[in-house]
């Protein structure tokens, strides 16, 4: 276990793993395919940290991550990224 949990840092926005059964609904409401979404590497420190969280386990490529961050224009903005390999 790393000394610090980067997800707790105030500059790191919230990252959530989207449950597989919700993926279709989200993609449909956004009107995009998984391939169109921005990517996030499986080796990204955030993904590695998420994997260590209880009840999550390995995050395979193709899963979707929801990122909730503060936005200057919108207040709170939800964006989605598709996990890719490497």
């Amino acid at each position: 276990m790393a000394k610090y949990n980067i997800l707790m840092h105030e500059m790191v926005p919230e990252h959530w793993l989207v449950p597989v059964k919700e993926e279709e609904n989200i993609l449909k409401s956004l009107g995009v395919t998984k391939g169109q979404l921005p990517k996030i590497r499986r080796t990204d420190p955030v993904i590695k940290t998420l994997e260590k969280a209880p009840g999550i386990g390995e995050i395979v490529p193709g899963r979707i991550i929801e990122i909730v961050r503060k936005s200057r224009t919108r207040g709170i903005a939800k964006i989605y990224r598709t996990v890719i390999g490497e």
Binding site: V32, G35, Q36, P38, P61, G62, A77, Y80
Partner: protein
Amino acid sequence: MKVEISKGIEELKFALLSPEEIRRMSAVKVITPDTYDDDGYPIEKGLMDPSMGVIEPGLKCKTCGGKVDQCPGHFGHIELAMPVVHIGFIKEIYSILSSTCSNCGRIKLPDSNLKEFFEKIKDTANRLSDIEYDDIVSEVESDASEVVICPHCHFENQKVALDKPTTFREEGKKLTPKEIRERFEKIQNDDLPLIGLDPKVARPEWMILTVFPVPPVNVRPTITLETGERSEDDLTHKLVDVIRINQRLRENRDQGSPQLIIEDLWDLLQYHVTTYFDNQTPGTPPARHRSGRSLKTLVQRLKGKEGRFRSNLSGKRVNFSARTVISPEPFLSINQVGVPAKAARELTVTETATEHNFERLKELIKNGPGRDEAVYKPGVNYVYRIDGSRIKISEKNSAEVAEKMELGWQVERQMEDGDIVLFNRQPSLHRMSMMAHEVRVLPYRTFRFNLAVCAPYNADFDGDEMNLHVLQSQEARAEAEILMKVQENFLSPRFGGPIMGAIHDHITALFMLTYRNPLIPLETGLHITSYIDVDRTPETVEVDGKRYFKGRDIFSLILPEGVNLEFKGKLADKSLDPNGTEGLIRIEKGKLVNGAIDENAVGQSKGALLDYVLRKYGNAEGAKFLDNLTRLAAGVISFTGFSTGIDDEDVPGEAKAQLREVGNEAVQKVEKLIENYKNGLIGMEPGKTLEDTLESMVMKALSQAREKSSEIASHYLGMDNSTVIMARSGARANMMNLAQMAGIIGQQSIRGQRQHRGYTNRTLPHFQKGDIGAYARGFVSSSYKEGLNPTEYFFHATGGREGLVDIAVRTSRSGYMQRRLINALEDLKVSEEGKVLDTEDSVIQLEYGEDGTDPSRSFEGDSVDVDYLVKEIFGTKYEGGKK
């Protein structure tokens, strides 16, 4: 699960042409150095052989059968009698010669070393980057060139030297290209990767030419001059030389001529082949045309500013455009642009004759190509019949052509009033740098436009030039009018407020018209109102039996009906206007009730009234308001007259004494501070050293002096002073500028600090060493009007220089930064659903700007102006909003 990701180009690979490949792709073996015969037909097996493609319309290519626009052109080839070096590979040839054994052709490094390098290259797990690979290649080269005894065959190699441009020598003995080629043939394919070559596509001996490719004729077309004379392309000229010398070399070789003659010819062939590739090879006299002009060969076609890349690929030229000097014209609407008649006659719009425009076009053709008349009447330059043939319209044939015109003809009519054009000034830093205008054809030679439009273009009239582009299709015109018209770009996407507005004299004039609501004599008032587009006059008042208009009533004429607005003007600051209420601008039911119209009301980027009109009444009404406003201002100021001069800064003697006192006091205060500092009486401020503390105290004391002088100047200079009027209304300058002219210029600083660099322990030799007093560190107590003493002048120049350097550095940096941003973002688009996508439809933002708001339709960055809506709906008093 596999995620599909779109693909891009990963790498490009360059290879060498082998002699076989050159022969294989050749359509003809060129043997004759001639082009055309006496009848003008291309000579068989000559340089213009029709097997290499066609350049004359109507003829067919002998290789593919295509006509001019179908045949891509085909290469031919020349069999060289003796091999020659390719100038483009000189460096590579040299390094291969130096690093390989002349006897066995191996790289002159032991097998163990070579193996080590190979392993690095072949390691697929850690694939090398191109740079790392290049590093290994140059390491092999530099290691192997040092070796004398070949580790493979133990042959003693000699040092090879390059005698520029193309001669190689081994211990003084010349190496012929033939010998080099023989050596290269011995190099094993397995060694090539360490030399930097891929054996699948390149062999080192291919760098020595034995067969010479002749480019297709459409690469080097024959030009037929108007006199009927033919002129060949520079490349063709060079090819003629190559073939001619090649022929002579072959004959001499076959006849067994003396070695000396053969060598001379061989060198000559090498010269021609070298200059064919690059006519500016160092050490080679450039080949010249008969006229003495040096030939433009292959490298010259590509290289430099006039080369293919910078001139033709990065730089594009455009038709239907014009460029000239700009000048102001307050009687044009902001949506218009004045175009000189001379330009209008050259700039055309192509219209197809239909039932709807038939009669109109007919009349236009009858006008001919244009006469020099007092009133501009558009004509027609060319018409195209349905078969595409062109008729030039002249004074003579205009009537005849007009009668013959049929439906479907294309008519190139000259520009007329109302045409939509794009107008642009470089540098085009934001989208308002290119806007659509309506044409007004005018006499003289400049482009003219309303002064309010200077701001978005960042234009002034000190010689600025601008470009104009005529739109050619209905779609383009419609799009430009909806998206690019000046009035559609009132609100800047940068801050969500109007970027256009009144400037300089507009503000001065309206301020003078409304400040303290002056009485304007009836005749003057009527004259002024004749400048604007209204059909009513204000009510008159009678004073001492004479009739007057009130200034504010005249201004109210240009306000849209029903404006209700209250805001603070520049005079709202009580210190500026102690007992007046001129700073409270109140408009009720479209009438200016109170206040002086100033920059805060109608100025660019901050005019509250302008902003209100735009938001409430829309862009068209906004444009009308601004048009009237500029005309009214012109009317007012041409009646009152307005000028300024240095004696505007004359202050009475008593004020002068006060100012001098302020300067002296400040200097004394600084001296006192320094004395305290030397006696250790100054305490350190947090985060500062003792010196810093002193500096900040001194700076404070001196800036107070300038403020005080500003106060004195404002006290003695009143509203009867032109400069004060400009400063107070926000037209130009501010009270500090005024104080600097009349009172004290103040501290000159560099990077926010008092001036301290220069000589040892002092800024200038005029001061004692260690002097850190006010004057020794750049305080200027003189005024601009009085003039500066020499040391003051020097410090002032130093401070001024900092500004110039800053600007130069900033513009180049921000320019490059902007360029990189634009290149990264240029092909993003907003989809119909409001997503931001790139060219492969990958999502950049799910909603534009995350909130889906167009900043130019926003209220100072917010999607909705709640205060405004509350007031409009509930009628409650507007409390000045959040401003």
